[in-house]
Amino acid sequence: MPENFFILFKQELWLTAILFILLISKLKDKQPAATSLLTGINILLLLNFLSGFFFNAEGSLFGKMFVTNHLHVFEKNILNLAALLISLQSTKWLENHEHIIEFYVLMISSLLGMFFMISAANVLMLYVGLELSTIPLAAVANFDLKRKTSGEAAMKLIISSAFSSAILLLGISFIYGCTGSLDFADINNLLHKEPLHAAAFLLFFVGLLFKVSAVPFHLWTADVYEGSPVAVTSFLSVASKAAAVFALLNVLNKMAQPLSSIWHDALIWISLLTIIVGNLFALRQQNIKRLLAFSSVSQVGFLLLAASANSSLGNAAIIYFILIYVFSNLAAFGVIALVSAVKQKETLTDYHAFYTNNKFLSWCLSIALFSLAGVPPTAGFFGKLFLLMSASQGITFTVLTIAALNMVVSMYYYLRVVRTLFANNENECLEAIEVPITAKIALVICVAGILLTGVLSGAYNYIITLQ
C-alpha cells in the first residue's frame, strides 16, 4: 500500500465512511427524526464535497487498476456537487419517506461505483464500477413503492442495463481474447486496426454508449426518467450520465487510440442520430420529466460529437459542459421536484401560468431551460458552443449545420415550457409553492452556477489547466 493511499483514495474513503455511518445509524433501534437525519446527511455530503478541494495528489493504486489525478478529482467533485444538490433539493420529498437511509445508502453506493468508473485504468475496475453504479440505481428507481410507474422504470432499467452489460462483457471478453490484458495501457498498445479488434472494441463501446443513452441504445432513458422519483431522475440524468461520459472519455483516450478512426466516424453518426432522435421525441412530450429525458438524450449527442474530435480541447469542452449541465439540469429538476411533491405529477399543463404565483421558481426553471437550450448569457451557451467548436475540427459543414439547426429544434420545446410558465391565465394557475430553505439554497447555487460559469471564464480555463 503506498504511503499516500489515504490521499489518493480520499474521495472513495469519504463515501465509504458515510455509507458506514448510515448503516450504523440504521442498525440503531431508535431512528432520529427525518429533518435532523437529513440535515446530518447533507452536512456529511457537503463535507465530502469540500474535501475534494484539499490535499489532492496524482497516483495509482491496486496495481495500477485505480488511477487518480487532478482531472479525476475534479470530475468526482462535480459528481459530489450533484449528489449534494440533489440531496438538498429532495428534502421535501424525503421528509415524508420512510426509507431515508436506504435511499442515501443506495445513492452513495452508486456514487462510489461512479468514482471507480472514473478512476478505472483497468477493464475489470471499470466493469465493477459500472455495475456498482447501476444496480443500486435500479433499486432506488423503485423507491416510490406504491407507484406503478416507479416499478416499471426500475424493471426497465435493470433489464436493459443487464443486457447492455452482457454486450459490454462480450466485448471485454473478446478484447481480452485479442490482447490478453485487461489494463487500459496494455490494451492501447496491443489493439490494432483489425476487424476482430474493432468488433470487440465496438461491443464494449456500445455498452458504454448505453450508459450515456446514445441512440439507438437510449430507449430505456425516457421511461426510466419518467417513472422514477424526481430525485432519482435527477441523479440518473446528471450524475450517472456524467460518470458514464467521463468513463467513456477515459476509454477512448487511454484504451482505444489505435482505433480512433473507427470510433470517430461511428461517433459522428451516432451523435447526429442521437441529437435528431432526441429532439424529435422531445418535441411532442407533455410530461416535463420525459421532455427533459429526451432533451438530455439530445444533449448527449452534442457531447459525443465533441468526443469524436479526440482532442484535449474536446475533452475539456465535454467536462465543462457536464459541469454546466449539472447546474442546469438540477435547477430544472429542483423546481420539478418541488412541484411534483405538491401535484404528484409532472405534466406540462400543471405549469400553466406558473409564473403568477411562483416567480422565483419560474425564473429558476426558465434560466435552467435557457441554459439547456444554449442561450446566452447562461453557461449553456458556452458549453454547447465549445462542444461544437471542438467538434468542428473533424467534421464537415453538413454535420455541423445539422447539429446547429438541431439547437433550433431543441429551442422550440424549451421555449414551449417557458411559454407555458409565463402564460397569463390567472384562473387555473398553481398556487404558491412553499420552497424549503435547503431547496432554495440548491436552486440559488444552480442558478448562480448557470449565470457565472459561462461569462466568467474561470471554470473553463481551470479545466484546461487540469489536462
Binding site: N142, M155, A162, Y176
Partner: protein, 103 residues
C-alpha cells in the same frame, strides 16, 4: 478429438444467442432474468477459455469471470426484488403488462 478454443467459442456464442433469443421472446420476467444469466455465463465461458488457451500465464480471465458471477448474483437479487414489487403493483409478471411508459 481434442476440444479446442474454437469449439468453446462456438459454444459460448451459441449460448449467448440462445440467451438473447430468450430475452427477446419470453414474456415472463423471471425467464428473461434467466436468459440474462445465460448471456453472462456465455461471457464467463469466453473469459475462462481465452485465459486457458491463449494466456495461461496470468489468471486475469478467470478472475474476471468470478467478478461477473458475483455481480450477476447481486444484479439478480435486485432484479427479483423489483419483479416482486412489480407483482405487487401490477398483479402480473408478464413483461407486456408493464408498458405504461411509452412514446
Amino acid at each position: 478429438m481434442t476440444v479446442g478454443l474454437t469449439h468453446i467459442i462456438v459454444l459460448s456464442t451459441a449460448l449467448f444467442f440462445i440467451g438473447m433469443f430468450g430475452l427477446f421472446t419470453r414474456r415472463n420476467m423471471i425467464t428473461m432474468l434467466m436468459s440474462i444469466e445465460l448471456l453472462l455465463n456465455s461471457v464467463n465461458i469466453n473469459f475462462v477459455a481465452f485465459n486457458k488457451y491463449l494466456y495461461p500465464a496470468k489468471m486475469d480471465g478467470v478472475f474476471f469471470s468470478v467478478f461477473i458471477i458475483t455481480v450477476a448474483a447481486a444484479e439478480a437479487a435486485v432484479a427479483i426484488a423489483i419483479i416482486i414489487n412489480l407483482y405487487r403493483t401490477h398483479k402480473s409478471i408478464d413483461v407486456d403488462d408493464v408498458a405504461d411508459l411509452k412514446q
